[in-house]
């Protein structure tokens, strides 16, 4: 890369740098493009033109085939139910915890927070087998509820840590004024603290949703039966199956990409605002 330094205006050096970066961007994006191309081809078209030519038409056969074979609609619904429930439940739990810790001044709060943070860095492998064993004992194995419970707690541990830092800076005068007006702690939480910290809460909600959507390890262990699987688990397990041909495999990849990119586009604004929040994880 040539780096013509510090001249104002875009000289030839400037264009060279730009070109290099655009080439890199194309390389980064090419898997998305190639997968999309091939998902819309017929097997015959693929055999004739190879993987790199754009599709001749808009053949949905491979996608529909794959969709029906894995009951993809059901997988999407499972992912939605699990991620959505976890996101909402974990945000509520985080707010309650952080409120109690940050404003209620529980004794030993620093240690509780450190414990939560350590819990967040622990590898799930070190929890997996006992969780698997315990959930079998209480009859929750292979149920969405088990996954929802586990991720709600894990995400809420992080959320509590983050929110108690935010709520720690919360101006105490407002709360004092509220309590002078006769508002109980409970009312102060719902009518003052929650509305004021709404931006942080919405960032957390979206992150929890996407993090849970992207999880692989624990859902792989807990959701054994086909009709409970989430999107990443269903796709990951099918990978490498012999009966999948080229177009169908790329259709499967495309079906995994589409929801993720859709969330990214929908939540883009909140995400870029909150990306530094995510950096702490």
């Amino acid at each position: 890369m040539s780096r013509a330094a510090g001249r104002p205006g875009a000289g030839p050096g400037g264009w060279a740098v730009l070109a290099a970066l655009v080439v890199l961007a194309v390389v980064m994006l090419s898997p998305f493009v190639i997968v999309t191309f091939n998902a819309f081809k017929t097997p015959a078209e693929y055999a004739a033109g190879g993987p790199l030519t754009p599709p001749q038409g808009f053949h949905l056969d491979a996608i529909i085939d794959f969709w029906n074979r894995v009951a993809f609609g059901e997988k999407l619904w499972n992912s939605f139910v699990i991620s959505g429930t976890v996101a909402v439940a974990a945000v509520v739990l985080s707010v309650l915890n952080a409120y109690a810790l940050g404003i209620g001044r529980v004794r030993g709060r620093l240690w509780i927070l450190v414990l939560f943070l350590v819990a967040n860095t622990l590898p799930q492998e070190a929890l997996a087998y006992p969780l698997y064993y315990l959930s079998k004992e209480v009859g929750l194995y292979d149920s969405k509820l088990a996954v929802i419970l586990i991720f709600t707690v894990i995400q809420a541990a992080f959320g509590t840590y983050l929110l108690s830092a935010v709520l720690g800076q919360f101006p105490g005068e407002i709360l004092e004024a509220a309590s002078l007006d006769g508002a109980g702690r409970w009312r102060a939480l719902w009518t003052i603290v929650v509305p004021i910290s709404r931006p942080t809460l919405s960032v957390l909600l979206i992150f929890f949703f996407i993090w849970t959507w992207n999880e692989f390890f624990l859902p792989l262990i807990f959701l054994i039966s086909n009709d409970n699987q989430t999107v990443p688990v269903a796709l990951g397990v099918l990978q490498g199956e012999k009966m999948m041909d080229a177009t169908m495999s790329s259709a499967s990849a495309l079906l995994g990409i589409v929801p993720a990119v859709a969330f990214f586009l929908i939540f883009q604004r909140t995400l870029t605002r909150g990306i530094t929040v995510g950096a702490i994880k």
């Binding site: 330094a5 997968v35 070190a126 006992p130 541990a157 990951g236």
Partner: protein
Amino acid sequence: MVLFLAVVVVPFLMNVATSFTRWSGVGTPTWIGFDNYVKLAGDERFWTSFQHNVALIVAMAILPTMLGLVLAATLFDYIGKKFGTRTAAGLRAAFYLPQVLPVAVAGVVWGWMLHPSYGAVNEIFGLKVNWLGDPDVALASVMAIMVWFQLGYPVVIFMAGLQRVDPALYEAAEIDGASWGRRFWHITVPQIRPEVYVVLLTCTIAALKVFGPIFVLTRGGPGSATMVPSYFSYLNFFQKVNVGYGSAIATVLALIIVVVTFLFLRVQERDR
């Protein structure tokens, strides 16, 4: 709090306890003291799996951080100024896009791209390489995929960090005739050092825990060419039903992660 105990603390302690036993998952575990750990220390697969972890730290933390620094600084301090911030933002979005995928889906995409008979990569370069099936190439392929996957994260974090740097610093340096390279070393890197620490720490932890891409792409193979500790413990838990041994691996991994985290935080603290 009760839930937290039930989901995190108790299972973790159970895991540690199980690591001192021989247990197949059913029946009563037999207490065998440190036998699992002794066996672990002499197990060649275990040591190779940690070497692969180091390789993945390079691919997931060190390379993306270095590339990310150069890219973020170029986009911010060069492209952004000469071609407008929209161009810079567009390129940033392109670099970031792989990051939005579930890591298992990224694995599916690359499993397809690198497929020995119908994959696109061999077609583009006119090669016949079995990227994920050849023990000499598999680890390098996985590393390259992880660089692709991770790169966007440091770019976005570093560009956000650069926004809080006082523009007067750059202007003063430009008036003094400092070259792009000098501005990079003397302004950009020192100013966003906190972000560099955060990215290095989070990515190192992610690399130590890596499971999804290995499961989807290679299942640790061929042989144990891409075996990592997390997959190794999974194998012992659910396929070989050596639960005690798997727990010992997971416990060691957890210890390493906690130690790495504390070391990072100490270094960062001292640096302030």
